[in-house]
């Protein structure tokens, strides 16, 4: 059997089987899902990109198979999926409806693989919708406020998906084929108006999943209220499907005459990233903070893709991979805190660093990667992005990105401080480190973040071949991307990562040694209650934690921007619609005679109009 089919059968069949297994032998469920996912990962890696499967459904020709671009995203999906499932086994322990959870979890991973292996628009859409509803079922898993939150996700997903579908059928009506290669080959032959419409409609679809403004309003709550083990995949991999779609559209369906589309997309993404960052800064719940941060980060990715320069696209894809790595680590870490402490509200928790040191380490590394500080991978991506934008003349865009990433330092610090630093309150004295099966995935992912900073080549290598499949030929003087340690822009300016790393690590170690060697042994730990306090004596029960209104001054400065949320407009629009619908309802007023009169009136209308319009 073709390994592509086997992959999907394993995934979907396994999902159903996990559901059934949970009913009868719950004990085996965890082992089963992890083994299944590992098996699927193995199968995925053993499936090359040359494998193609052709078949017809309902007279529609379809084709499955990975390209090097989708393979890149596939790697994200299976790696994150496996790690998140391992993490899940501990995180979800003791919760109910686990069969439901794992079934939808596996469904959505399977659907993502399906999307990536689709070489035609119909199967793409088919799997896209499966992904939508399976992820939706997990979003509403917790059951809080489903009506607003879940529906919002579903409505926006549906709007997105249906605009995609609209584009798909329009494309087909012109080209007569759903195959991506046919579409790419002949898209520019059709009218330019339709061309733009198709691109925009498709991008609405992908924009919803990648939470681009103004279609992002579902995302914060959806990310933050799903179980964290899923959010890791949701934000890490699922939102990347939108990015993947953007890549398909921007590189293949937008002709160079329509460069304005690229600009608009880039600017929307930039505004998204700035606003989302601002919102992230003023959050006090770690999950929501990360949710907004995800939206912002995907903004960067899309800016990179939309810049349509070699370096920019590479930056976008690199950030996509890296975002998957560090953001899922962060969600996992927050999940670990949630599980061990019971809340992620940063106004309530503080000072967990000594209780959950490994979680802290993973968080710290991921935050450094997120903030884009050297020497971790985030810097590599950011650098490439900036340089690409500057060298290609997107002067103001680069300012937006800078603004967003500078403001990102604020929430980066907030999340570290909010959960791990600050006053160690006695109520958290009993908190223990998360179990090993949660730590290991986090630490593995952190390891990737670290490695990507000094040797980004191992990520850039597959990205480079992915870009080749998008039609970007390398113009940079590198023979083997594996060995890449110096970043170049098109003006020839560079950053030597090895020098950066040597310098930072060297200085750090020397300084650390300098401060540690003499006297550290004699130092003793004092609690955080024993601090300089202008003479006041602080008692252990005094709560000295500074957590509420953390960035109030900043919030005041940016308040004019945040005053009116886009969400409110949607709510008003929805209310207006409902009122309209209620008005329409009045038509059925309950009186049978009226219905009869409608019939007569309609007939009379038809007879009068019929002679005029239907040519009798």
């Amino acid at each position: 059997m073709n390994s592509l089919i086997l992959l999907l059968i394993l995934m979907f069949g396994g999902a159903l089987f996990a559901f059934i297994l949970n009913k009868f032998v719950p004990a085996l469920r965890d082992i089963f899902v992890v083994l299944l996912m590992l098996g699927v990962s193995y199968l995925f890696f053993s499936t090359g990109i040359s494998n193609r499967l052709n078949f017809d459904v309902l007279g529609i020709h379809m084709q499955w198979g990975f390209t090097s671009a989708s393979y890149l995203f596939g790697i994200i999906v299976v790696v994150l999926g496996s790690l998140a499932l391992i993490y899940s086994t501990a995180y979800m322990k003791g919760k109910d409806r686990l069969g439901y959870f794992y079934m939808n979890f596996l469904f959505s991973i399977g659907a993502m693989l399906g999307i990536l292996m689709s070489r035609d628009l119909i199967s793409l859409f088919f799997f896209w919708e499966i992904m939508t509803w399976s992820s939706y079922f997990i979003v509403i898993y917790s059951g809080n406020d489903v009506d607003r939150r879940g529906l919002k996700y579903m409505i926006f997903s549906a709007i997105g998906a249906y605009s995609m579908l609209m584009a798909i059928v329009i494309v087909n009506s012109f080209i007569g084929s759903f195959l991506l290669e046919d579409v790419f080959a002949s898209i520019f032959a059709i009218g330019s108006g339709y061309q733009i419409a198709i691109a925009i409609l498709l991008m609405i679809g992908f924009g919803v999943k990648s939470a681009m403004m103004p279609l992002h309003v579902w995302a914060p709550r959806a990310y933050s209220e799903s179980p964290m083990s899923y959010t890791a995949v949701f934000s890490g991999a699922l939102s990347k499907m939108g990015v993947f779609g953007f890549a398909l559209v921007l590189f293949n369906l937008v002709s160079t005459q329509n460069w304005l589309i690229n600009e608009v997309v880039a600017w929307l993404a930039a505004i998204t990233s700035v606003l989302a960052t601002f919102y992230a800064v003023i959050q006090s719940d770690a999950k929501k903070l990360l949710a907004y941060s995800s939206i912002a980060q995907i903004g960067y990715i899309i800016i990179g893709l939309a810049s349509n320069t070699y370096l920019g696209v590479m930056a976008g894809l690199f950030l996509a991979v890296l975002h998957a790595v560090f953001k899922s680590t962060l969600f996992m870490a927050v999940g670990a805190v949630e599980r061990q402490v019971g809340t992620t509200d940063m106004t309530k928790i503080s000072g967990l660093i000594r209780r959950m040191p490994w979680t802290f380490v993973a968080t710290l590394i991921s935050i450094i990667a997120l903030a884009g500080l050297p020497p971790l991978g985030g810097f590599v991506g950011k650098w490439m992005l900036y340089e690409a934008l500057i060298t290609s003349g997107h002067y103001y865009l680069v300012i937006m990105v800078f603004l967003s990433s500078t403001a990102a330092f604020l929430y980066s610090y907030r999340i570290l401080f909010g959960m791990f630093l600050g006053q160690e309150e006695p109520e958290f004295a009993h908190v223990k480190e998360a179990p090993l099966s949660m730590l290991i995935p986090m630490l593995i992912l952190s390891g990737i973040s670290v490695l990507s900073g000094s040797h980004p080549g191992f990520i850039l290598e597959p990205i480079q071949s992915a870009m080749a499949s998008f039609g970007f030929q390398s113009n940079l003087p590198h023979e083997s991307w594996w060995e890449l340690t110096v970043l170049f822009n098109t003006w020839g300016d560079k950053v030597a990562l090895v020098n950066v790393l040597t310098s930072i690590v060297g200085v750090f170690l020397i300084a650390l040694a300098f401060i540690t060697i003499k006297g550290y042994k004699n130092q003793r730990y004092v609690t955080t209650k024993d601090i300089s306090s202008s003479g006041e004596i602080i008692q252990p029960e005094d709560n000295m934690t500074f957590q509420i209104d953390f960035y109030k001054p900043f919030e005041r400065a940016i308040w004019p921007l945040l005053k009116r949320k886009i969400d409110d407009y949607y709510t008003d629009f929805g209310k207006g619609l409902e009122a309209l619908f209620d008005f329409v309802r009045r038509f059925y007023n309950g009186n049978g005679q009226f219905y009869a009169i409608y019939v007569m009136a309609f007939l009379a209308l038809l007879l009068i109009a019929g002679t005029k319009y239907f040519g009798f």
Binding site: G393, F417, K494, V507
Partner: protein
Amino acid sequence: MNTILIQILGALATILLAFIVGMFYGGAHRKVIARIQNRVGPPIYQNFIDVLKLYSKETSINHGVMQHMGPVFAITASITSLMFVPILTDGNWFSNLNFSGDLVFLVYMMVFGSLGMALGAGQTGNPNSAIGVTRGLSQMVGYEIPFVMAMVALMTQFHTTSITGMIAVQQQSGTWLMFSNPFAFMAAIMAMLGMFSYAPFDIVTAPAEVSSGPISEFGGKYLGMMMTSGSIFAFVKLALFVDIFMGGASNLVVLVIKTFALYMIPVLYGVISPRYRTEQAITYFWKWPLFFGFIAILYAAF
């Protein structure tokens, strides 16, 4: 082997230079303020004495590993940034890693230190530290933007993102960049006021209300290291500005003159200014400096 040794020696010399110059400038700062306020003020070498004293102290308590590492982060950042900033325009002695990084990298490297220090400050659990940190970071968002705009303007104007490239441009044309793109210079200088966190932007440390901000829980060697880092950092910023806007320095004397002149801008501006609240500071940066930055980019691009 020999080259590496020379490199390391060169690096050490650079650090020493930066440290000494930075420390003296700190002393000068105090002296100037005192003079203007009609006081005698501490001697100009007072900071050396302080640092020496602090290093010789034995630290006996800490609040955890992050506090221990905070100063290390800070000094790592300042020294690494120093390594990437050209000190002199010619001669290999102070070149270090000048050609290995560019402006964007440097902007990020400069943030690294404050974030690392903020982590250390965070673990102390002192609310004053945390308050100081949040103010500092918020203010940073304010001044980074005009600064970056100025940088982007220059980069687009001269098609290079590296500092050495910009020095080369100035040497070729003979015009300082502050004249080539005056708007960028205006924006950058106003941003620099914020970077130094002197009055009116000194709410971060705000000695009167929050003890002394982020470093309130640090003492002994920790504080010493912080001060060292701060001095080096001050020098890095000045050297960077000199390199970019004032054509760099061909020898140490020129360097000192130029940096000192530049340094006096925030110092003198601070002396005559009251203090801004954080949001006022941010809005300050987002008014005229932002406008200048905007114009600068337009000027550069067209």
